[in-house]
């Protein structure tokens, strides 16, 4: 028994070393990437760009389901973005609340005939509306079919070659579109571009814009600020250098529409549609040997409200992990397949073994260590030391994300915010990390029992005109 426990613990140690070495690699790669991106962001001449007709026209797709609390403010903010040519396609996905009525009243909608071809299959449409006051706005009303189905309906209705999927509760910074299109100005092989999502809780929001960025005082949203910084600032920037990012946030990602059509749009049966879409996009482009990149750009920012209660957060994390498991299973043919280049040899193995299986291994580690201590296979000081080192790695990664934020984009200027960020980065490891492991572990159990639906999220809303502190 002791021998078996010893072997298990050695295996876990090797896994832990391998995974953390890879994280260290991402961390190192994120340094030149953040430097390059900061230089490009600082040198941007937006005035000149806005005056030239070079910028590609963009269709902004906004799926909305029961969003009556935020829809008017969100759409108004999107319509006033700094960009030369764009349209906004809002899809009301069979909302049971007054989402459509709110839109009708706020933007003076009138029904127009449906003239465009419905290339991607969706749930039946109920009507298409244009606005008398905002000519860039198109509203599609359809039967409930989920977020992916709504996005497909929006793609059908859109006119422009680039589409950006934005959640209705997301607040996009005024110059974010200009920044997001930077890769198109720098090359021609772009298949999609991802921007940064930040946590809006605790921030001051005025007229649909974040006017004062703050780190929330409440523990759960506060700790998610660090998580988001870690995921975006060093995770995705590191993957930029490795050329195999699998995630472009569904709340803020720009895609070339021709490719979305080619892969059949969003998969409606997918639990996490954005991950599924990007993996399929990689697969399609690699299979056809099309030269492409899917970069992440850190300076265009969209702010989103994150869950403040453990119950909703647990559901969100479980759903995300369920989506990851489903995608890795569905596209297992790409795993270690040299045909898919770095995506098959690096990204898929990392997401399968490093991300998907991480909670299983971590729980295995805890159980193995406890058993080892109980059966005297491992002595207690050694076990504690091992845990300390394992958690220390987590703290290092979180603190590194804070450092990257501090030396690059510096959204949180106050000393109090910095102290809170450092506090959350330090104490995330104790308690919160174990909770997320448990939530993600539950995803394995719920994989075949849960149906796909819009993730439940109780929102306070950015709401009405004027100033408001979210969260």
């Amino acid at each position: 028994m002791n021998g078996v426990l010893h072997d298990i613990n050695i295996a876990i140690l090797v896994y832990f070393l391998g995974l953390n070495s890879f994280y260290a690699l991402l961390l190192v790669l994120s340094i030149p990437e953040v430097w390059a991106q900061t230089r490009l962001a600082e040198d941007e001449d937006f005035q000149r760009l806005m005056q030239s007709d070079a910028l590609p026209p963009i269709s902004i797709l906004v799926p909305a389901h029961n969003e009556s609390a935020t829809i008017e403010a969100s759409v108004t903010a999107i319509l006033t973005l700094e960009y030369r040519t764009f349209e906004v396609v809002v899809v009301n996905d069979g909302s049971k609340d007054a989402t459509l009525d709110q839109l009708r009243q706020a933007f003076d909608l009138y029904e127009v005939p449906r003239t465009y071809p419905e290339t991607l299959p969706t749930k039946p449409l109920r009507g298409v509306y244009r606005s008398r006051t905002r000519t860039r706005l198109l509203v599609v009303d359809k039967e409930n079919g989920g977020k992916a189905d709504s996005l497909n309906a929006a793609i059908n209705a859109s006119r422009f070659p680039l589409v950006i999927a934005v959640d209705a509760d997301t607040l996009i910074e005024p110059d974010a579109l200009l920044r997001l299109t930077r890769p198109f100005l720098l090359g021609r092989r772009i298949a999609a571009v991802g921007g940064t999502i930040r946590v809006a809780n605790g921030c001051t929001v005025k007229d649909g814009r974040v006017t004062d960025a703050r780190v929330p005082r409440r523990f759960l949203p506060g700790i998610q600020v660090v998580e988001y910084l870690r995921a975006f600032l060093f995770g995705r920037l590191g993957w930029n250098r490795l050329g195999g990012s699998l995630i472009i946030s569904g709340a803020f990602g720009l895609f070339r529409k021709e490719y979305l059509h080619a892969i059949g749009g969003y998969r409606t049966t997918s639990v996490v549609e954005d991950l599924d879409l990007v993996v399929r996009l990689h697969r399609y482009l690699r299979q056809r040997k099309i030269d492409y990149v899917i970069p992440f750009v850190p300076d265009p920012v969209a702010w989103t409200e994150v869950p403040e209660s453990a119950r909703i957060l647990s559901r969100q994390r479980e759903r995300w992990h369920r989506g990851l498991i489903a995608a890795m299973w569905l596209y297992k043919g790409m795993l270690f397949n040299p045909r898919y280049g770095r995506v098959g040899l690096l990204a898929m193995p990392f997401f399968t073994f490093g991300e998907m299986l991480a909670p299983v291994v971590e729980v295995g580690g805890y159980v193995g260590t406890l058993l080892g201590v109980a059966l005297h296979a491992i002595d207690l000081p050694f076990a504690l030391l091992f845990l300390l080192v394992a958690w220390g790695y987590g703290m290092l990664l979180s603190l590194w994300a804070v450092v990257l934020e501090e030396v690059s984009f510096r959204r949180y200027g106050r000393v109090g915010d910095l102290v809170r960020l450092l506090g959350y980065a330090t104490f995330e490891t104790f308690g919160y990390r174990q909770l997320t492991v448990w939530w993600r572990l539950k995803a394995f159990l719920g994989l075949w029992t849960r149906r796909h639906a819009w993730g439940e999220m109780t929102r306070k809303g950015f709401d009405a005109p004027g100033k408001q502190v979210v969260g």
């Binding site: 040198d43 001449d45 007709d53 860039r136 100005l185 720098l186 021609r188 080192v389």
Partner: protein, 353 residues
């Protein structure tokens, strides 16, 4: 070494790095604040001097002194801000004066730097203050390996209308993405004579696979001298070339353009037909109304939409055609006519863009 000793060493290393990171954050913030405290007043002072200089209340020497007190990157940023507000002759005067300053010399020397961000800084500076002496540098930067440097260097063409630079930029054009091409077009407009001469030569290379990109770019210039060249290429065997020709001809209301578009509107390729019908709408020649009306029943949705929007530009006859289609037997034309007739003038303009 035992595994416990290894873990102790790793833990101690981690602790040291953690403390180091926290110290780094604090020191970085402190340095940034100090720097800001020093530089913000200097930048404000420069703005005041610039304001006075633009009003003719002080000489360029004062501006040069204020610029020299800022780091190069901040000075360039200030120049970017002010370049749009100052008259061209005054700005050229400042550009010439800057040639003899020490910091612009350092920035210019960076055109050969191994670090791309230094070259980018140089290209940005030259896009604001290049003179005829900088042609060699700009040429090198135009051919740079980093696209951001190329793009910044291309902006210099607005200020230095050299045929050598124009030829270099045009040679690169077909290899650039559509967005970058459009950007080049906007900056090359000022160097029009040299650009047009070069383009007319390129138009003769009928077998050049880059021809469609060249025509796309040429169309953006709205240059009447090029119209005959476009018309000649209306029968080119490559559908992409014909599409770009159809797009370009809409900007030239001329009998030959109308005749060429009349053929292109019946092309076998639908993107050509869509562009042709759009261009016919832009010209709005009454004799072409039947062609546009017929396109309303095209098998391809995109052509029908373009036809509907084009009819709206024909004034009363076009509106009548749409009203007839609205009650006509063809369901697709009916819906489209309803859509177009329901659009406000501003919506029509945006929709047709």
């Amino acid at each position: 070494m035992t595994s416990r000793q290894l873990l102790v060493i790793v833990a101690l290393g981690q602790g040291a790095v953690l403390v180091g990171l926290i110290v780094l954050i604090i020191v970085h913030r402190w340095i940034r604040r100090r720097r800001s405290a020093v530089l913000t007043p200097r930048r404000a002072e420069l703005d005041v001097v610039m304001q006075r200089w633009t009003l003719g209340q002080c000489g360029s020497d004062d501006v040069l002194r204020a610029l020299a007190r800022l780091p190069a990157s901040l000075a360039i940023e200030a120049l970017v801000t002010w370049s749009a507000r100052v008259a061209s002759e005054r700005w050229q005067e400042l550009s010439r004066a800057l040639e003899h300053q020490w910091w612009p010399r350092l920035v210019r020397a960076n055109s050969r730097s191994a670090r791309w961000w230094k070259r980018l800084e140089c290209a940005r500076f030259l896009s604001l203050a290049a003179t005829q002496h900088d042609i060699g540098r700009v040429l090198r930067l135009l051919r740079d390996t980093h696209p951001a440097v190329q793009l910044a260097a291309a902006t210099t063409l607005e200020r230095v209308g050299s045929p050598v630079l124009v030829a270099a930029a045009l040679d690169q054009l077909p290899f650039l993405g559509p967005t970058v091409q459009a950007y080049y077009a906007s900056v090359l407009k000022r160097a029009r004579p040299a650009v047009v001469r070069h383009l007319l030569q390129l138009f003769r290379r009928l077998d050049d696979p880059r021809l469609s990109r060249i025509i796309e770019f040429a169309g953006r210039l709205h240059e009447p001298v090029l119209r005959a060249g476009f018309t000649t290429l209306a029968t080119h065997r490559d559908a992409e070339v014909r599409t770009q020709v159809a797009r370009a001809l809409g900007k030239f209301p001329h009998a030959e353009s109308v005749a060429a578009l009349g053929c292109l509107v019946q092309d076998e390729s639908w993107p050509v037909r869509a562009q042709a019908v759009r261009s016919l709408g832009m010209i709005a020649d009454p004799t072409t109304l039947p062609l546009v009306r017929a396109a309303l029943q095209d098998a391809e949705w995109w052509v029908r939409l373009r036809a509907g929007l084009a009819l709206a530009r024909f004034g009363a006859p076009g509106r009548n055609a749409l009203l007839q289609a609205e009650v006509g037997p063809d369901a697709a034309s009916r819906d489209l006519a309803r859509l177009v007739l329901g659009l406000s003038a501003q919506a029509l303009m945006e929709y047709a863009a």
